[in-house]
Structures are given as structure tokens and as C-alpha cells.
Symmetry: C2
Subunit: 339 residues, 2 copies
């Protein structure tokens, strides 16, 4: 457990770093939040926090940078109180309340406002929960591969291709198909997400298990990429943040954000509870490397599940992002309640 002073200092480092994007020194902390302490004392504390894994020193004569652990601490300590200005609140409301025909229009509006106010990239993932699976087909392509097709009430998802092992005959393919249908027909495609293949379920032979796992994995990917609508807005906001002064980072970020299945994955892999905001910090919490992902669940209509959120560098303005998402999810829940 951290002493009160350590907490204060740690928060100050994180706050300062979020603001300036450069290492924070003992003197700065003294100025901003601990005038009644000397910088030497703070240095001792910083040193302690470093050895506890909260801080990192890029080099000996630089200040401290918060680690992902520090950001996690910071976010946990955060109060839920909003930091939005009246103008920002008004903007959000006016944008969401003007009634824009179709759901997709509304979603566009949502991503728009979020990215505009937060200056990060925003994402909304939509899944029609009423659109359930009616069949799963495994189609032998006669070239050692099979095509997997998921049929739902409203559409057909294809393009999943998997190698068939040589000792796998037609009968087994049919068995596999039957098994998949038994498991998933009537369910929503998003339920692949929570499904993990149990190795002992079908067959003890390692090879077959491996194939079955491959099939369900591939189906999962398909379901993510095509079964859910992903709307992204404000990708270009990354250029505002100094971690993306490097072309390599930009490239990595854009390729992550551009991949629908990754986004669907990252933005729906949370508690699934409506009204709560989830924060994932860095790769260790399953966000893309160097990134944080903030999401919240919201019903976008009867039987339409939605996940709205923000993706950006770990050095993110969490206060603002959390406030915005909180505000927006409340408005939406409200809107939905009235209909």
C-alpha cells in the first residue's frame, strides 16, 4: 500500500506527464503539489516509487516517466466527476439530440463528437443481437482446403479458409459441421468471442483437436471482422500526440485501427455491463502495444448491442475521455429508455 504522500507524488507525475509528454522532475512536483516538502524528499520518494515499478527513468539526468502500472494506479484512483466545460457538454448534447434518421447516421455522429472533443480516435462497434446464426457450412474446396461459411438470418459471411489435414475424410468434415451447428445455431455471432475450444470435447487425437481449434479460431475472426459493424473516426488525431512523431508508430497504429477484427475484438472484450467504463492500458491489458483503450457498453436499440470508445496512446487524457464517454453513454441510455 502506498503512503498518502507517495500517492500524491505518483499522481503528480502522471498528470504532469500526460500534459507535457516529457519526464517530470522533483522540482516540478514540489511546485505543483507539495510546496511543504523539499525536492530532496521528493527525490527519495521518486526513487522508492521507481523501485516499486511505478516509474521509469529514461536516463540518469532526466525526470521520471510513469510506467503502465502507474497509469493503472492513476486510473483506479480517478474520481468519476466530470471535467467537461459547459461548452463541451452543450456540444455533445446538441450533436446527439438532433435526430439523424438511421442508426448508422447516429453512430457516425457519436464517433464524430467523441473524436472531436477528446482529440483521440473513436470507435463504435455495433452488433445486431437479433441476427442469429442459422447455419454453419464447411465446404471442401477439393484442394486440401475448406471454405467456412456462416449464415445468419440477414447475411452470409464467407472467406474463411482453412487447410484440411490429409487424414480427414468427408465423414469427419460432416461431423465437424454438425458439431458446430449444434453449438452455435440460434446464437449470435458475437458469442464466438466468449467461446474457447475445449480440447477434450470431440476427439482425443491431438491432430483433430488442433484442426477443430483452427476452425473455431477462424470462425471467430470472421465473426469479428464481418459479423459486427465497426465505425472508426478521427484516426488522424494521432498526429496531435507526440508519441506519433515517429512514422513507425503511426504505421503500427493505423494498421491496428484499420483491422476491423482487431477493433471489434478490443472494443467488445470487456465486462459487457452497460453504463460502466472500462479502461485497458497497454499490451499487458490486451490493448494494442503502447495504446490504451477506453470503452463503454450501450444498447443502441432493441437487441442491438453497442460498444463505444476511444483508442490512443497510453499517455492519454483519461479524465477527459472518461468524462466524455460517461456523458455520452448516459445520454444514449436515456434516449433508448424513452423510445
Amino acid at each position: 500500500m502506498l503512503s498518502l504522500r507517495k500517492k500524491k507524488i505518483l499522481s503528480a507525475v502522471v498528470d504532469g506527464y500526460i500534459q507535457k509528454a516529457s519526464p517530470v522532475s522533483s522540482k516540478e512536483i514540489q511546485k505543483t503539489c507539495l510546496q511543504d516538502c523539499s525536492s530532496a524528499t521528493i527525490r527519495n520518494e521518486l526513487s522508492a516509487l521507481e523501485s516499486m515499478g511505478y516509474l521509469v527513468q529514461p536516463h540518469v539526468s532526466a525526470g521520471r516517466i510513469p510506467s503502465e502500472k502507474a497509469f493503472r494506479f492513476y486510473v483506479n484512483e480517478l474520481t468519476t466527476e466530470s471535467c467537461l466545460t459547459d461548452e463541451e457538454n452543450a456540444l455533445i448534447e446538441s450533436r446527439l439530440l438532433r435526430n439523424h434518421g438511421s442508426l448508422d447516421e447516429v453512430i457516425k455522429q457519436i464517433t464524430n463528437v467523441i473524436s472531436e472533443i477528446t482529440h483521440y480516435t473513436s470507435v463504435v462497434v455495433k452488433a445486431d443481437m437479433a441476427d442469429t446464426i442459422t447455419a454453419i457450412k464447411l465446404l471442401d474446396l477439393s484442394n486440401g482446403q475448406m471454405l467456412m461459411v456462416i449464415v445468419t438470418e440477414t447475411r452470409v459471411l464467407k472467406d474463411g479458409i482453412v487447410d484440411i489435414p490429409e487424414d480427414f475424410d468427408d465423414l469427419m468434415l460432416l461431423q465437424a459441421q454438425a458439431w458446430l451447428n449444434k453449438l452455435f445455431v440460434g446464437k449470435h455471432i458475437s458469442q464466438f468471442l466468449n467461446f474457447t475450444y475445449p480440447y477434450t470435447l470431440v476427439n482425443d487425437q491431438f491432430k483433430l483437436n488442433k484442426l477443430f481449434k483452427k476452425i473455431t479460431d477462424e470462425l471467430k475472426k470472421q465473426a469479428l471482422a464481418n459479423g459486427m459493424d465497426v465505425c472508426v473516426c478521427g484516426e488522424h488525431n494521432i498526429f496531435k500526440h507526440s508519441e506519433y512523431n515517429d512514422v513507425g508508430n503511426v504505421q503500427k497504429f493505423l494498421s491496428e485501427v484499420g483491422s476491423k477484427d482487431k477493433m471489434a475484438q478490443v472494443f467488445t472484450d470487456d465486462g459487457g455491463q452497460e453504463g460502466f467504463v472500462t479502461v485497458k492500458i497497454g499490451a499487458s491489458e490486451n490493448a494494442p502495444e503502447g495504446c490504451s483503450v477506453v470503452t463503454t457498453r450501450v444498447a443502441l436499440g432493441t437487441n442491438i448491442a453497442g460498444s463505444i470508445g476511444v483508442i490512443g496512446p497510453v499517455r492519454m487524457n483519461y479524465k477527459k475521455v472518461l468524462s466524455v464517454l460517461d456523458k455520452i453513454s448516459n445520454i444514449i441510455i436515456d434516449m433508448m429508455g424513452k423510445e
Copy 2:
């Protein structure tokens, strides 16, 4: 007119620069294409070409870099013969010929193959020519602004907002509306593109003319952004080209490519003739700064106009891009003919 040797040298510089992305020296040219000349002679020629505006020298001890004028020369000299390998041809064919339900699917496939083979960003702009304008509405928002709405047979385009001058009354608004309807009802939205506002048409008063011009400009922008479907693929390919090692350039490029109206504009502003490939080099030829745009027109169905093409740095592999677009447009024209 350039001497044969100058042409040879100029082509060699462009070729070399396209390949290496670094200045080309006299010695290199000697090696690659003019063994029977000394490097000194080539230097004289290079110097002449430079003063003619074809070449640029970044600094005195560097080789030459081709100017946009040089690329224009190079492209004009290019023969139409294809430089594609058998594998590439086969890939294109197999991708386009597997029949993918909807037109949008096909378009996705087209952009996909193009960007995959050329390693540039590819764009397809689709315009349903049968979808004509049924009405244009100017709606006074009572706050000194008006909302402009274009109604076509299948959809409603809105969101164009323009200030109304104070001395503009309701009657004039109606007049303006009547005028616009008279001009454009029954036509396709893309025809705004070719429309330029004639100052003397309605009123001699400068102010009103200015407003009318503003309205048509705004309508144009709307028509471009929303009246045509723009499909972009392979944005991330820019990272493969060294001109985009700089974050600033990446940002500029992505913001250009991300703006639908700019893309619709750039990719449809050509002769409009089917089967011919148009090349725009650099800002002076109305491509985005530092970029070249290669396009070709193709009917994507009865009454559906399409423009398919590639956008990338001026230092583009024109041989390949032209070959690919040529091949693809031929296939599509063929496909359409059969239906």
C-alpha cells in the same frame, strides 16, 4: 525538341530515380544506358537538361533529380506495352473473375487487387447516373444561415450550410431555389462538377452573385462528398515509399485521401473517355501536392459511371501502374460487354 541522346539520358534519370529514390549521377547513367559516351559528356547534357527545367540538383555534389516536368515527359514517352508478369496477370484475372455478388463487393475487389499489385493507394469512384436530382431546397434556418438539401431519386443529401447576407429576403431565396431547380432537376449530381457559375446570369449586383456562387460551390462540394461512392484501399502502402518517411507528409497524404470530396474530384476530373488512362503529375496538374494520380474511366454497369485509379508520390512506378489499370479496365469493359 530534345535530341535523341537527351531523351535517353532524361529517361534514364527518371527510371533511376523511380527505382532508387536518390539523385542519379552521370556515371550511373553511363553504366546503365550510354556506355559509348564519357561521363563528362553526360554531365554536359545533364547540365543542359537542368537549365531546361527537366532536372534539379539538391546540392552541387549530388546527382540530378527529375522535376515534375521530367516525369510528364517520361509518361508521355511511355509505350503502352504491359510490364506485368504472368503471375500478376493471372492474379488480376482470378480476382476479378470470381463472381462476387454485389457491385460494391466487386469494387472492393478491384481496389484490393490494384493496391496489392502496384503497392500504391487505389481508389474507385462510382456514380449512379440514373439517380438524378428531383429537387434542390434552400431552407432558411432563421439564424442567418441556410441549409441546402439535394434530393435525388434514391436519397437526400444535406449538411451544406451557407450564410445568408442580411439584405437577402425570402423572395430572393425562393428565386434562387427556383433557378437552381430549373438548372439541375433531371440531371445527375455529378454534373455540378462541370458547372461553373456565370456571373452575369442572375443579377448584376456583385453581392448576390457572390452568394449564388457560394451556393453552387457548396452544392458542388456536397455532390462530390455524398453523391458519389468513393472506395479507397491500401492507404497504408504509402509507408513503403521513402517520401513518406516524414510524418508531416504522411499526415498530409492521409488527410487528402480521407476527404471524399477531394478524392471524388481528383478521380473524376479527366477526359471522361472510357478505356484511356489519364495521368496527373503534381499540383500543377491538379493532383495533390507531391502526388500523382492515374485514372481510367470504366462503366460499372448500365448507367453507372466509374473511375478507377491510383494515387501515390510523383516518383511513381508509372509503367506498372499504367499496365495494371490498362489490364483491369480491359477486363471490366469486357465483362460489361457480355452482360
